[in-house]
């Protein structure tokens, strides 16, 4: 039975049924998993999508109920673990932060599910796809709703598992297998950090439940807090693809495009951001950790943006873009603006998902080709895709009044106003790069003359089931920022989220209007600079991209090869690990098997030796009896003579 414990006293409404939200995708997973392959076949798509849409409706309801004033409700299902001091419930914390996350995951998720019905229609693994997709949705929702670190970890691991399953969806080919393994390995390294953070939290605070831990922040030493926060950030870096655990995300593009859109743009990779945002009271109390978060976020942002400049695979461009935008979110967290980070998380979910789905539509149209050098001029053939992707691209480049502008501008302003001028500068430069590579990608794909006429002739717009989600996401990308984030710092989302992420002792900067306008202008100018340079290079060939490539020479090669990071990792870590495994394997074969086989050989040898007593000659056996008699007599004699003491 659902039993709710409510510190907020207003009528709970739908919050009581919040556990239905993950339960619906879980049910879809079970039904699809058990019956999908043989009986349901394409109905699995409807079941999974229907579950997500219903969950989205419920999420809207829960959101409205939280809005009405239920700022902090815990809905407990049951006590999971109760061992002495260690108590963990399966319980959901329904507050503004989690309700926003629920909305983002379910709404964007539903649209992607619907899109996938069309995109995967010809794939023979269709039921399997929707089974894993639903399981992922369940795990992600569990992650977002949990009221304690351990339950959240269950969801955390679950999304990691589903990421592996879905990246390696076309497992018959070697590249997806390797990509899935790589993703899982890097995630696992992050999970190690998360586990250390989680266990240390329990050791220091005696609990893993958010509310209990945050109440007692004062009792921990600075050293403890820093340890916990850095450990959690390692986990977040693994899950959200920050340096140095980022290189799995571009490889994850081996998976089907809806997977890239849902898992590697809108939801799973944002789990790290959510973790840090949720743990704001801890991070704020441990001063240096926030610096680390901010710096790594900023460096990752610019690093990934430089690589995106020269990629030719359209999905790779979007992947590096995602890494870069996630860096922005961590930058926001690092300068003490968690609301800005969550805001950007929400807008990014819309426009990045749209960019990925649009790419999927393009790829589908040109017969599974992903290299932009073979595209061109497609805007005439794919109008809906073109216009929706244009809006999303504009949002990514942070052009007002699209959604991305409001959230990115807020991040940059927060960086500047809190005194982190260096980070602000990095953010501005990255914004220029972002606008440039998005323009480049759009132009290479949709404008100019078609470079491969065969592909161009066969290109066709996608069916309605795929274009409708594109349109809806475009609406979100365009309007969401204005709707919830205007005016800056005083919009709806700011007042809504503040109680959830407020931390004691954080000073609110109160800037003048002139400063705000100047900063916004700087952001807009940065975006325009990028776009103008892009158009100039690609439309008018001033300067010509090929010439720039030749001139940059070694720098260009460095970027195209992604700074040789993969090769570095391979040489330093992978080969060392393989050598270590070799040692372990040798130990297993020689020592452990040696012992086992040795015991066997010993038994056999013993038996073989003892066997020689059985000569088969009866006389020998009689002699043995006499020898035994001799032994008995000796023993008796010794006993009688007092040799053996009683």
């Amino acid at each position: 039975m659902i039993e709710s414990v409510a510190p907020g006293q207003i009528d709970l409404g739908l919050i009581r049924y919040v556990w239905l939200i993950p339960a619906l995708p879980l049910a879809a997973f079970l039904i699809n998993g058990l019956f999908g392959r043989r009986w349901l076949k394409h109905a699995t798509g409807w079941i999974a999508s229907g579950a997500m849409v219903a969950a989205a409706a419920l999420a809207v309801g829960v959101f409205l109920d939280v809005l009405r004033g239920n700022e902090h409700t815990t809905v407990t299902l049951y006590r999971w673990i109760g061992v002495g001091e260690f108590k963990i419930d399966v319980a959901a914390l329904v507050d503004p932060l989690s309700s926003v996350m629920l909305l983002v995951v379910t709404v964007v998720g539903s649209l992607i599910f619907i899109f996938a019905n069309g995109y995967m229609a010809h794939d023979h693994g269709f039921p399997r796809f929707f089974t894993w997709f639903s399981l992922f949705a369940f795990a992600m929702l569990l992650l977002v709703m949990a009221d304690n670190y351990l339950l959240m970890f269950v969801g955390w691991e679950g999304v990691g598992l589903c990421s592996y399953l879905l990246i390696g969806f076309w497992f018959e080919k070697p590249a997806p297998q390797h990509a899935a393994n790589k993703a899982f390995w890097m995630n696992r390294i992050g999970d190690w950090g998360y586990t250390i953070g989680m266990v240390t939290t329990f050791l220091v605070f005696g609990s893993m439940t958010f509310t209990e831990v945050f109440e007692k922040v004062g009792i921990a030493t600075q050293a403890n807090l820093v340890l916990i926060c850095i450990a959690f950030f390692v986990g977040a870096a693994g899950k959200s693809a920050q340096l140095p655990l980022y290189s799995w995300l571009p490889d994850a593009m081996e998976g089907p495009t809806p997977v890239s859109a849902l898992i590697h743009a809108a939801t799973m990779v944002t789990a790290g951001v959510y973790l840090v945002a949720r743990s704001t009271p801890l991070f704020v109390a441990a001063g240096p950790s926030l610096q680390v978060v901010g710096v790594i976020g900023a460096v990752t942002a610019i690093f990934a943006a430089t690589i995106a400049l020269v990629q030719f695979d359209i999905k790779r461009v979007m992947a590096y873009s995602t890494v870069s935008q996630l860096g922005y979110m961590f930058l926001a967290l690092g300068v003490g603006a968690p609301i800005a980070a969550i805001f950007h998380l929400a807008t990014h979910a819309f426009f990045k998902a749209l960019l990925f789905l649009g790419s999927g539509s393009v790829i589908h149209a040109v017969g599974d080709e992903q290299d932009m050098r073979k595209m061109g001029g497609l805007r005439r053939k794919l109008p809906v895709t073109y216009w929706t992707m244009l809006i999303a691209g504009g949002a990514l480049a942070a052009l007002p009044p699209l959604a991305g502008f409001w959230s990115k501008d807020e991040i940059l302003s927060a960086a500047f106003l809190s005194g982190h001028t260096a980070l602000w500068a990095v953010g501005i430069v990255t914004a220029i790069l972002t606008a440039f590579y998005v323009t480049r990608a759009m132009w290479m794909t949709f404008h100019g003359e078609p470079r491969d006429h065969h592909l161009y002739d066969h290109a066709h717009e996608s069916p309605a089931i795929m274009t409708l989600p594109l349109v809806l996401l475009a609406v979100g990308s365009a309007a969401l920022g204005l709707a919830i984030g205007f005016p800056p710092d005083q919009g709806f989302i700011h007042s809504f989220l503040k109680p959830a992420v407020e931390a004691p002792g954080v000073a609110e900067p109160a800037p003048e209007l002139a400063t705000i306008l100047a900063l916004s202008a700087a952001s807009v100018v940065a975006g325009l600079v990028g776009i103008v340079v892009g158009i100039s290079m690609y439309v008018r060939h001033r300067p010509d991209p090929a010439a720039v490539t030749r001139a940059a020479g070694p720098l260009y090669r460095l970027l195209v090869n992604k700074y040789y990071v993969d090769e570095l990792y391979d040489r330093k870590f992978v080969e060392a690990t393989r050598a270590f495994f070799g040692v372990l394997w040798a130990f297993d074969v020689h020592v452990i098997d040696g012992i086992a086989n040795g015991i066997g050989r010993l038994a056999a040898a013993g038996g073989g030796g003892a066997r020689r007593l059985q000569t088969g000659v009866v006389g020998n056996y009689a002699l043995t009896v006499v020898v035994g008699l001799l032994v008995v007599l000796v023993a008796y004699g010794g006993y009688a003579a007092g040799v053996f003491k009683r």
């Binding site: 000659v617 002699l623 008699l629 001799l630």
Partner: protein, 168 residues
């Protein structure tokens, strides 16, 4: 006049008979000779029993051992003719080992035996039958019956073992 010395002479003669017969059984190459010497040993043993005043036992000894068992052994000898072979091959391969282990025990036991110094106390003449019979049929009636069952089983077993397979 004391005729005690007669006992000693008789004992010595019977001892020579027993030991000589046994040595002959063990070391003689002609098997029928060995069998007959065994019978001679049995007879001397019966004499020992008489010396100890256990005439009934002596009678049983002669009946069973000299009478039945010797005949059985002779039957066995008769039905298992062996080819002639050199004397050395009468002995098992393990003979040296056997000697090694038996000698110490034998010496030890013989020495131990000589520690019994008290005299033997024979029953009066003809006086051992009644107590024996009373004991067997009163105190040991059950083992007696079991012994008869054992004999029955042995008889049947021996017949079964030796039966030829019928070809009908």
């Amino acid at each position: 006049m004391s005729y005690d010395f007669l006992e000693t002479i008789l004992f010595a003669l019977l001892t020579i008979g027993i030991v000589g017969g046994a040595v002959g059984v063990v070391f003689l190459n002609r098997i029928t000779g060995a069998a007959l010497l065994m019978a001679f040993t049995f007879l001397c043993n019966a004499g020992m029993f008489v010396l100890l005043g256990a005439e009934t036992i002596a009678a049983f000894q002669v009946l069973i051992y000299v009478g039945a068992i010797t005949v059985l052994i002779l039957y066995g000898v008769m039905f298992t003719p062996q080819q002639h072979r050199p004397y050395a091959l009468f002995f098992q391969k393990q003979t040296p080992w056997a000697a090694l282990f038996v000698a110490p025990i034998a010496i030890f036991v013989a020495l131990f035996a000589f520690s019994f110094r008290d005299s033997a106390h024979p029953t009066p003449r003809g006086g051992d039958l009644v107590p024996l019979a009373t004991s067997v049929f009163k105190d040991f009636a059950f083992p007696f019956e079991v012994a008869s069952v054992l004999l029955l089983a042995a008889m049947i077993g021996a017949i079964v073992l030796v039966k030829r397979d019928e070809d009908e």
